[in-house]
């Protein structure tokens, strides 16, 4: 096996899983761990990954930052939710995707060959989609907010205003049948409102802890939700309320 190939495979697995283990790679490639570590060091020097004890992780610092903040929390659930959410996609659609770890998981779960147009203000989502050959990616610029992992502000709003989308994957929000869809930050909420206004349908994918909670800034009413992707263990009573408002429930 060529050194080049090995490093490409490491990049591939990193793109797929977000992390690699030195021992695993060594046995998979049939080389010593030293060789794998040398590869990892080299790739790290080129900025293509970040070394950690035991292996390496994808180098995106925003992914790392957000991942650290809510470290490890509900990873499995988000992966399941993401896979269920991408089931809504159809070839040729145009999407808005905003910030949040769930949306990043969704972006990573999008199949490699699907043809889409995606506009996002999240750096994590953008970098997840940057490698897909048939996705036309529109980055919505503006002032980057490290705590959110997204761009916000007037420039972002102006860029959104020029676009329209079939679906809007609205992330990291509170969800309450009476108070509707709500966000934790004023500037973020403005962008979400603009995206919601210019979308034909809103998709909300949430873990159970977001259900029946509300944040200060209102984005839209509960009736604006077209698709609601939730865990199998979500409380049936709450779901029934949203269903009455017209949301189509989808279980992960």
């Amino acid at each position: 096996m060529l050194t080049e190939e090995r490093q490409q495979l490491i990049r591939d697995q990193l793109a797929a899983d977000g992390r690699v283990l030195a021992g695993d790679l060594a046995s998979r490639f049939g080389v010593s761990e030293d060789t794998v570590r040398r590869d990892l060091r080299e790739l790290a020097k080129a900025g293509q990954l970040r070394r950690v004890y035991g292996g390496a992780v994808a180098s995106a610092p925003f992914a790392a930052a957000t991942l650290n903040q809510r470290s490890g929390y509900a990873v499995e659930e988000k992966l399941r939710l993401a896979k269920a959410s991408v089931g809504l996609l159809e070839k040729g659609q145009s999407l808005f995707i905003d910030g949040g770890t769930t949306n990043e998981a969704i972006a990573r779960a999008i199949p490699r060959d699907i043809e889409l147009t995606v506009a996002t203000n999240s750096l994590g989502v953008a970098s997840a989609l940057a490698g897909l050959p048939r996705v036309e990616l529109i980055v919505l610029g503006g002032c980057y907010r490290p705590d959110l992992g997204t761009c916000v502000g007037g420039d972002t709003l102006a860029a959104v205003a020029q676009l329209g989308a079939d679906l809007f994957f609205l992330g990291s929000c509170g969800l309450d049948i009476a108070r509707g869809i709500t966000a934790f930050d004023s500037a973020e909420a403005e962008v979400k409102r603009a995206m919601a206004r210019n979308s034909a349908g809103i998709v909300i994918t949430v873990t159970n802890d977001k259900l029946a909670t509300a944040a200060p800034y209102r984005i839209a009413g509960s009736e604006a939700i077209r698709h609601l992707v939730v865990e199998k263990t979500a409380p049936a009573a709450i779901l029934a309320d949203f269903e009455r408002q017209g949301a189509e429930i989808r279980f992960a």
Copy 2:
């Protein structure tokens, strides 16, 4: 067997498998490995493949690979150049940084606690800076170009037009004393021009292979360069020309 035939077969297998092994080819063709290596050298010089230890790989089969491949090239040099380049930074400055692997290396080399305002249209640069606590990051959105790793187009230009910077780190360009600073892509060049227009000074950091080369699209004249960061091994004659035009040379 004719030399021509052999090289065609190598091209064929490269197209089919994405890689070839020197030993395999030698036994398949019934010639010595030296002959195969000569073929590979020749094809590499013609840009039809990329030589690696053990054989060769396709030079640019997928768009995704192009950025990866480039970043793997001249890693050491770029690291040294990057460290020298960040030496130009002063606290409180505002910067434009555009695309290219060298600029990504520079972004990664920026010290963690320096206070800066940075506007970039490169996803790689943005993600490198997203983690720095005291950097105000402005993402210049637009249509993302996978081959460049940057956003270009009208939206990007409009965003640049609203900003100004003390320094502009201009990346991935050709540099020739007579033809000036040149870019390989029309849309990319437009963005670079806009950034150059709104900057007080231009910094160019290049590996030796960029010196005395030119690309189709002109960005600015040689006299626009304020700082030129080069390797210690850069040809003195070329540097002297740029120095006469007012550039301050800095060795990595």
